[in-house]
Symmetry: C2
Subunit: 231 residues, 2 copies
């Protein structure tokens, strides 16, 4: 939709990958709609995943015992976080929709993307206590997980060996996105990409592009327990 | 138990933290039993979490399109993985029990520990296709997650705002540990550490030490869907 701002957090090493194609087609389709699209290409940026003392510039509030959550909360309030975190926070703040594009690594996001979440979504910026879940600070924004899996769709069903795909999405969709106040759109899952043909992969890319045409009309999913597990 | 080998994967920045105390008391108690205890102190090692081309020494099997999973699988077979991965794999291979000691970050492990899992537990070493879940290559070994949370135990119940703690443990216990063949022992969760008193924290450390006295007699938990969610 013209005027909307979209941030794509992209976590794949290879531009020629299916993840690369899914990212590319999203940039194209959303730009065509008149959206402003920004991409954080985490591997290309060599994004730092480790949560350390280096994330705080200047003095610590407690130099004796380092507590990452407390120190980054204080640093956020004093604009004393390191510049790469501030830059990502600025992008998130401006976005109407944040899309995370990644290959599933061990039922979750790759470490480089987990590091983005650990470091960027700090207390004070994304939430406070109180000020989480429906009152998280990123309320009013949309988020969407677009991921590829090695395992097939059949493996990720309730009776499949890997369980319903919603089970592994729970920490991401509820524990992170909902916690920060995002309204979460249905995930875009490209299943079984290692066992799919070139033709099937083209269909995956095309159906993602097709979905994006009406993405602004979608209703968010429910992310609240125990409802989430009963759908 | 005398003669047993234990590997502790420890992911906290601060030795004076509760995580540091839980790690320390585990080393002491297990050593007292006659176990050989090894600790991988990930922040102290500045462990690399990013899964990149640097993990493969020498030539790639496909220099045109980089696929991390395939390249590390091939590199594992040729002993061409980078030395930090090989060293961690050696420690895992020798261990009878692997304990992961970490603070819960966003319903999951901190990125530095996710990176350990992404990079160390590669195909060929920890599993193959086929050769996963009950036939994962680390079968015969035990694993245990020992974690601290900011949220209280009440928040992590079925009807609580954050849902049953087993929901967020699912990707870790089933998707990673069970997938690799580990038998998983019950998690050790020190809840609500930000709102606990010094005295309560001491109790948490003491009860962990107490549990470790009979850890070798414990039966593993069930990690199979849909059983896992019905317990």
């Amino acid at each position: 939709m013209a005027g909307k701002k979209v941030l794509i957090i992209y976590a794949h090493q290879e531009p020629k990958s299916l993840n690369g194609s899914l990212k590319k087609v999203a940039v194209e389709e959303l730009s065509k709609q008149g959206c402003t699209v920004t991409v954080s290409d985490l591997y290309a940026m060599n994004f730092e995943p480790r949560a350390t003392r280096n994330d705080i510039t200047g003095a610590l509030s407690n130099p004796e015992v380092f507590r990452y959550g407390i120190e980054t909360y204080e640093a956020y309030k004093k604009t004393a976080l390191t510049s790469d975190i501030l830059e990502e926070q600025r992008k998130v703040q401006e976005a109407d929709l944040v899309i995370f594009q990644f290959p599933l690594y061990w039922f979750s996001v790759p470490a480089i993307l987990k590091g983005w979440m650990d470091r960027v979504l700090c207390q004070g910026f994304a939430f406070d206590i109180p000020g989480f879940y429906d009152s998280g600070f990123l309320k009013g924004k949309l988020a969407l997980l677009s991921l590829t899996t090695g395992g097939t769709a059949e493996m990720y069903t309730r009776a499949g060996v890997s369980g319903d795909f919603r089970y592994f999405l729970w920490p991401l969709q509820h524990g992170i996105l909902h916690f920060c106040g995002f309204k979460v759109l249905a995930p875009q899952i490209s299943f079984g990409i290692d066992v799919s043909s070139e033709e099937e992969r083209k269909v995956m890319v095309a159906s993602w592009a097709q979905r994006l045409k009406s993405i602004w009309k979608e209703e968010p999913i429910h992310c609240t327990p125990p409802w989430y597990f009963q759908e």
